[in-house]
Amino acid sequence: MDFTRSEGLGGFSLAGDYSEAFYVHVFQMVAEGYKRLDPCRYSENEEEEITGALTEAIQEFLEDDGSPDWAAAYSVVEDCPLPQPGRMGRKRRRLDFTFIRSQRGERPKFVFEAKRLNKNTRLAKHYFGQDGLGRFLSGTYPAYNDRAGMLGYVQTGSEPTWAERLSNHLAENHDALVVEDSPGWQTSVVTEALPHTYLSRHRATASGTPLAVYHVLLRFY
């Protein structure tokens, strides 16, 4: 069986419109989940606890009778394990959030890595390091269609302040984080419900392919 889509989409000129719709759905799901939570309850919680609560809330949205029809075709998976040589069972690395359009054929996906942003956060290590954005850069985590996301759970300070710190850090570590010069860090609101969404562009260190990373800052205090 070699039914790969070797012919591609030929000259189909509107593929971008559909991709855009997919990303809008992903961010709408994050927004809907966030809307169902009481952020103040999570000011002291660990990242895994917030991720768990957010996943449940997104799931609730997806299963709600009143949710839009498109929602029925999506699922969100928390802690999705990755097959890796030499790592089996619980030892496998896990993706924080994976949004999957559940259908037959190859399933479009979008992956988020989640990190807390509070007074103990060391950006270089926790957010941008090997256990953060670095996972996408190194290819340890897959970036589907060269796009991935970081969720910043803001537990102290404001979202704009953290956005500035993230932006500065990127600028200062331009080479290490293989940041593309233009346009650099920019506001990129995919849905109005998530106003603190930013975009940075990189090159994956392992593959050399372009990588667009969306940073969504969610207040949890």
Partner: protein, 1027 residues
């Protein structure tokens, strides 16, 4: 080759002109047709090349019409075109082609006639096998006379409407040869020969007949050896001549082929004459009708001899005990093709079949090695090269010595197939001895066997086979039992499945990362107990494809009960982190060349076409959860069904939890027995009670009351139950109760205490719970429950049409938040239905009430419009495809209204997907052919905000003509056989997508619109560079 006839003229045309004329008339000369007219090129084909070669050498084969997905892929031969000199030669060609058992239709072109023969019917009686004849005067109208044989008809599948009946299994060589072997074995066994001697003598004669038909044992040769041909190959056979020939062959070629020496004293002249006579065409006792005179062993493919012999072995005691069963050749080739796609088998790679049976897999592997080597060096292989290819690459083992010997014979005949006749004898060449070297008679789990240890040390590059599906015998001395005891923690096996143990055992023989292709029971994917096996197996192997043949069971294995699945994996390897398993469950309804003309299947498959529209991908992580629902929805549904069923499973309590919380009893009915038998106990409670008779309800549909004729008072002598089953089942035989059919056709509430039949379920509660039970009965009678139970059941749709108690336990039930008045309403509706059913009239009102019940259930579960369509379409159409059925309602064209509904659903799905981010709208136009074959759905994406665009339906048009101007080149070059291979072909062209599909209702259901929308979106969203 038949080249000598090429330029001989006769009458008006030269032979070649005649052939050209015929090919033109049939449309085969068209470059875009599937006709392959270069025999040299055909001979390169890895699966069929050897057959084409023989046909080109001896049948005047000029070309083959192939069904194929692309130019570079192996095609399935549909029509042979041969040239003959005269009537006698044409008949001979037909007989030879029948012996190949490969191609259903044969056209023979002669100077005076053009004939169409049935390639699967030998034509023993007058005219049998001849389907049509056209004389030379009709040549100019050949396309009319053989209308359904034109390229266009074959490409569109119309050929099978006219000639589908040619596939009858009972006329094919495979079936008849098996029947004849059985008959001959029976005669020999009745004459006092034991199994080994009988099989040995038959095997030896297959070998001798092969050598004779190949003219290796020519009259000259026999004369040189002082042996009269009639003294071996006729009813006048003599032991002296037979043993003399056997001795000569042992000396000249090989001593190990079916060694009969140990049995020499048992084989009497009468036995020999019996076998020799039968092989010469005699009837052994005047009662059996044997066909040996029809056989030409130089044409029968060795691999076919091998598979037939495997069936023959199975039918004798040894085979059935060990669970061995034959593997159809189409399946063997399918498995090897799939492995070759991953990495072509070539010189230097070793192959093992750990349960080789009669060697069908090994023969085909060897055949491929020979073909590749021949292509590589550009000439035929020398006998010693063939010998080393065999000895250095091909290995097998089996517990059954007879199977090993037939494997050896099959491999050696394959070697001889590739050798020129004149170089076989007298050149000093000897056939290798394979038994005890390459083919080991041993149990694959026997750690004490030196031979097995030797094979383990070899670590093979490829492991293939169809391991036995029996249970591991409960005998502590059995090697497999010992192995299981040692390994069950790391390598779990469910229900003592020998096949699962074999799947693990491949680790001990295969190199890490070696490709493995095994045929295992399809239930491996579905059974509850198999969860630990699935979890571990998908964890420890890089499984890249699983093909589930459940729906094709009856045409792939006529007469067999157990469906199979092919597993393809790299042994002990880790898949890519984002890997998916390609899975595919071919449905007979989607196999135009295999499906029966009407209703249920019943013809044996002569090919296996991989149809792209049925492919699914399962993420490896899903497979590792071990959940059978993933495989069930992959076969019978889509990701939508999986998402729906999982959502409801999370959202509602299960029926098991609900019944426990409400103190309801749920159990299968008691096993009632006659008194006086061992292990039974008298149950006074049964006296005077009535029992439901399931045999009376065999063909019933939805019921709301048990008909009187399906009830009987249990006679006093039968008021006993098995002690072993306990008396718990009696709890559900007290009213108020519900009787739930195992096939979920009905759930009947009863106020009379009825005895629930065995295997059916009873649910019972307290007196005051009557309303609750009525409400439950209403729920259980809904479409949703049938749908959910079908998917949740491990066997339904795979092997047997039933669900179990465990399946009902898992059913999500939406009664948690209902207050008593709501439940009372449900109970009242059920009571109304019961009343209507009791009075037996006013079926319209009953339908309305049932519709109301379904609406209530759907609302209580919060089902969306699209999800209701999924359920409805599944029950009305897809579920009817069970066991390979091909119902007319599914394959007839959709009405205009249905097509319109399909188009609107497709449009709405696509519009809704982009609604939040783009002004894109979708204009859908459906072109439907006049005949029941092709439809094209044109989807134009238009940037135009506003109201949805009304779909257009154009019926009774020639869709290809309409579309041809736009995509003709792409279509004709690459997708000629879309009907066979890509029944959901999509072509993208600027802002328009063309969806090609059969003009059949099944492809225009509302639920299909959702699947089509999902497929399109998946393809667009995951295409490289889509972002």
């Amino acid at each position: 080759m038949y080249r000598e006839y090429m330029y001989t003229t006769f009458g008006e045309y030269s032979r070649m002109e005649l052939l050209d004329q015929a090919l033109n008339q049939l449309g085969y000369s068209d470059a875009s047709s599937g006709y392959a007219g270069d025999p040299d090129e055909l001979c390169q084909d890895p699966a069929y090349g050897h057959l084409y070669r023989r046909a080109a050498q001896r049948c005047g084969l000029q070309g083959v019409y192939l069904l194929r997905r692309s130019e570079r892929k192996t095609g399935v031969p549909a029509v042979y075109v041969c040239q003959a000199e005269n009537d006698g030669q044409a008949r001979k060609i037909h007989r030879s082609v029948w012996n190949q058992d490969t191609v259903p239709l044969l056209i023979v072109v002669s100077p005076t006639f053009i004939r169409l023969y049935n390639g699967f019917d030998s034509g023993t009686e007058t005219q049998r096998g001849l389907l049509k004849e056209v004389d030379q005067s009709g040549l100019s109208r050949l396309n009319e006379a053989l209308g359904s044989l034109t390229a266009r008809s074959i490409d569109s599948g119309r050929v099978w409407e006219d000639w589908g009946a040619v596939r009858r299994h009972d006329q094919r060589l495979e079936g008849r040869f098996l029947k004849n072997l059985r008959g001959l074995d029976e005669v020999l066994r009745n004459d006092g020969l034991d199994r080994t001697a009988s099989h040995g003598l038959i095997g030896k004669f297959i070998y001798l007949r092969y050598l004779r038909d190949r003219e290796i044992l020519s009259d000259d040769r026999l004369e040189k050896w002082g042996i009269m041909p009639a003294h071996v190959f006729s009813r006048d056979a003599r032991l002296t001549a037979f043993w003399a020939l056997d001795g000569r062959l042992r000396e000249e070629l090989n001593g190990s082929i079916f060694p009969l020496e140990p049995k020499r004293h048992e084989i009497l002249k009468a036995h020999l004459q019996q076998v020799a006579g039968v092989f010469a065409g005699d009837d052994p006792n005047g009662q059996l009708s044997l066909d040996f005179e029809l056989y030409d062993f130089s044409f029968i493919p060795t691999e076919l001899l091998s598979t037939v012999y495997e069936q023959f072995l199975h039918e004798t005691a040894e085979g059935s005990k060990s669970g061995a069963y034959y593997t159809p050749l189409t399946l063997v080739n399918f498995v090897l093709d799939e492995l070759d796609e991953k990495r072509p088998l070539e010189e230097g790679m070793t192959v093992l079949d750990p349960s080789c049976g009669s060697g069908a897999f090994l023969v085909q592997c060897y055949r491929r090695l020979i073909g590749r080597k021949r292509r590589q060096i550009g000439q035929s292989l020398k006998p010693r090269e063939l010998r080393s290819l065999l000895e250095d690459h091909i290995y097998g083992m089996d517990r059954d010595g007879d199977a090993c010997r037939i494997t050896e014979l099959s491999l050696l005949l394959t070697l001889l197939d590739a050798v020129e006749t004149r170089t076989v004898l007298g050149s000093g060449f000897k056939l290798p001895k394979l038994c005890e070297k390459n083919i080991i008679e041993a149990d694959a789990f026997d750690e004490d066997s030196e031979a097995i240890r030797g094979l383990k040390d070899m670590r093979f590059d490829r492991v293939v086979g169809n391991p036995p599906w029996a249970k591991i015998p409960n005998d502590s001395e059995e090697p497999a039992r010992k192995w299981l005891k040692q390994h069950k923690k790391r390598h779990p096996v469910s229900n003592d499945s020998l096949a699962e143990a074999f799947a693990w055992r491949t680790h001990d023989f295969a190199k890490d990362g070696a490709e493995v292709g095994l045929l295992l029971p399809a239930m491996t994917l579905f059974k509850h107990a198999g969860k630990p096996f699935r979890q571990r197996f998908f964890e420890e192997n890089d499984v890249w494809a699983v093909v589930n043949f459940s729906n094709m069971r009856k045409i792939l294995f006529p007469g067999a009960d157990h469906p199979c699945a092919a597993f393809f994996f790299r042994s002990q390897a880790t898949p890519h982190m984002d890997a998916t398993i390609l899975t595919y469950a071919p449905f007979v309804v989607n196999q135009p060349a295999n499906r029966a003309e009407k209703g249920r299947g019943g013809k044996a498959a002569w090919n296996l076409v991989v149809n792209a529209s049925e492919l699914r991908e399962i993420p490896i992580e899903e497979a590792r959860l071990g959940d059978s629902l993933v495989w069930k929805t992959a076969m019978w549904g889509s990701g939508r069904d999986l998402a729906l069923l999982r959502r409801l499973r999370r959202r509602f309590p299960t029926f098991g939890e609900f019944s426990e919380a409400n103190g309801l009893a749920m159990h299968e009915g008691p096993q009632i027995r006659h008194g006086g038998t061992a292990g039974v106990v008298h149950v006074p409670e049964l006296v005077g009670k009535r029992q439901v008779l399931m045999q009376v309800l065999k063909s019933c549909g939805r019921l709301f009351g048990i008909p009187e004729d399906a009830l009987r008072v249990i006679p006093p002598g039968e008021c006993f139950a098995r002690k072993r089953g306990g008396l718990k089942p009696l709890d559900v035989c007290r009213s108020p109760q519900i009787i739930v059919d195992a096939a979920r056709r009905f759930a009947v509430f009863s106020n009379e205490s009825l005895v629930v039949p065995p295997r059916q379920l009873g649910i019972a509660g307290k007196e005051e719970q009557a309303d609750l039970l009525r409400a439950i009965a209403l729920f259980l009678s809904s479409d949703f429950v049938t749908y959910q139970q079908f998917f949740a059941s491990t066997e339904w749709g795979i092997r047997a049409d039933r669900a179990t108690k465990e399946t009902l336990h898992e059913l999500p039930i939406p009664f948690g938040d209902m207050d008593s008045s709501e439940l009372h309403d449900w109970a009242r509706l059920y009571a109304e239905l019961q009343e209507k059913a009791r009075t037996g009239d006013d079926s319209d009102t009953q339908e309305q009430l049932l519709g109301e019940a379904n609406r209530r259930v759907n609302k209580a579960l919060g089902l969306r419009k699209n999800e209701i369509a999924l359920i409805r379409d599944f029950l009305v159409y897809r579920k009817q495809l069970i066991e390979g059925r091909v119902p007319h309602e599914a394959t007839s064209p959709a009405s205009d209204r249905e097509t319109q509904a399909y188009a609107k659903h497709l449009r709405d799905e696509l519009d809704a997907f982009v609604a939040d981010s783009s002004p894109l709208r979708h204009a859908i136009t459906v072109y439907r052919g006049e005949e029941n074959r092709l439809a094209v759905v044109e989807i134009e994406a238009v940037k135009k905000a506003g109201r949805p665009i009304e779909p257009e339906i154009h019926s009774a048009v020639e869709p290809l003509t309409e579309i041809a101007r736009k995509v003709q080149n792409v279509f004709e070059k690459h997708h000629r056989h879309w009907l066979y291979y890509e029944r959901g072909l999509r072509i993208y062209d600027r802002n328009t997508i063309y969806l090609f599909k059969p003009n059949e209702r099944l492809h225009f259901l509302e639920s299909q619109a959702l699947v089509d929308a999902d497929d399109l979106l998946s393809e667009i969203l995951t295409a490289r560079g889509a972002s």
